[in-house]
Symmetry: D2
């Protein structure tokens, strides 16, 4: 696939993720093996202390890692997360929450990817979470496409 096609595939798939739209998440830069997703803190995605909910942080981090993996996969392949682990290092607060996903090792069946999540405020980035995910390439399963 041409890099433009890969990007287009990621953007088209992202647009179908209802949770991303509901959360107000936006897709940032998409390149081979690296994808960014951002979120603006607001009450609809908060936890009980007013910070962005760990589930919302996990969702954009998981999606950033998953799309980084998808960006390196063949055209007829979809991607599923089989497992992830996330360390939440500091409260998710600030003007913007940014997840940067990148592929650590791409394999035929399984890909390992990480996402760093930053809280951005006053022009400064602070690392607030680190996710590691295993993504599986899937072909021709019912209901699984990009």
């Amino acid at each position: 696939m041409h890099p433009d096609e890969r990007q287009e595939r990621v953007r088209s798939s992202f647009a179908k993720q209802g949770l991303m739209t509901t959360s107000g998440a936006t897709l940032g830069s998409v390149s081979s093996g690296m994808v960014e997703i951002a979120l603006s803190p607001h009450p609809a995605i908060s936890q009980q202390h007013g910070f962005v909910h760990g589930g919302a942080v996990s969702a954009i981090a998981d999606s950033a890692a998953g799309y980084a993996a998808l960006s390196l996969m063949p055209a007829d392949t979809g991607v599923l997360t089989t497992e992830f682990k996330i360390n939440l290092l500091a409260p998710a607060a600030g003007e913007r929450i940014l997840a940067r996903g990148r592929v650590v090792k791409a394999g035929r069946t399984l890909t390992l990817a990480q996402a760093e999540v930053f809280a951005i405020a006053g022009g400064k980035e602070k690392l607030i979470a680190l996710l590691t995910a295993t993504l599986m390439a899937v072909k021709g399963r019912d209901g699984i496409s990009n």
Copy 2:
């Protein structure tokens, strides 16, 4: 704390989680060391294949584990997730998605909890995810209460 007070604390905290309301999640049974949270699949929380997004599954699983931990903590304590790991075993589809959190080991500072997530359809439960989380008890931090 009296069990009723513990339950009330969990219910009051849950009501403040914007993401839970936005996702349409509802709090089920709350007892000492065990909490259930349910979700009905709908497009606003889907991923690109139409299943419930792994981020939404993680959010209810993390919250169920966290509230199970909180249900055993002293009155003046809040709870924060420091890390979790989730294995996504099958697509999250069906009539209802149910996360059952339970404490594995309660400690003074750190509590280990797990949540099993089931997809319910036609009266049958299918295990679709397993989460393990480390929860931290926090006292008197700025902005951290229940």
Copy 3:
């Protein structure tokens, strides 16, 4: 495979694990989807505080989970751990350290298993670690058999 053959396969594979012999680990009960491995604390497997090293605890927990998975796999299949996560809940000290592995969900390619690790002293068991592992069934790879 007959249950006896499955048991025999696990026992034969375990005997080939140099690290298990070196650590003094012994294979306990083996049944379909459940395997126990035990260890006696001694200085050769300690960490700096004199407790059993987390790496040795992880090794028997990972092996117990892996053999629990292998016990359910077809005859021509080997097993590899693709990832695991372990929470170390208390120092590994006592007369005996016992890992109990069990399959959570067996799949064609990936199996999810858990192992609980107990420290046994004075006839009492104390949970000291919890491991979750993803195991992959492998066929016909160079150098991979049971």
Copy 4:
């Protein structure tokens, strides 16, 4: 603490880890927030297919991450691993297995560290495992010192 004292503390603690000696592991470079530990593959630390056992890989990775954390902690503090997650990406085979631990975020109580593990053969390094660990600083607990 002076950097030399920090290094000395790590080296002295490492020498007390029976499992490291038993495994034939050696401590490599030690600097502030970064520690290397190496291992030579041999039958005493193998799994059933002849590769280095995942438990031995985990042990050096966990120790490298833990000592990277300890290298940044105050003089009167010991370190304990509370949890780790490791992805095993390729068989651990080659002339040497090298774990490189580095601190991702140092905190007062909890530190997050990672370790990359490489298999070295013919002058080439291949990433074979990635570990993420949470380390806890401990003071004045019975039996816990460096």
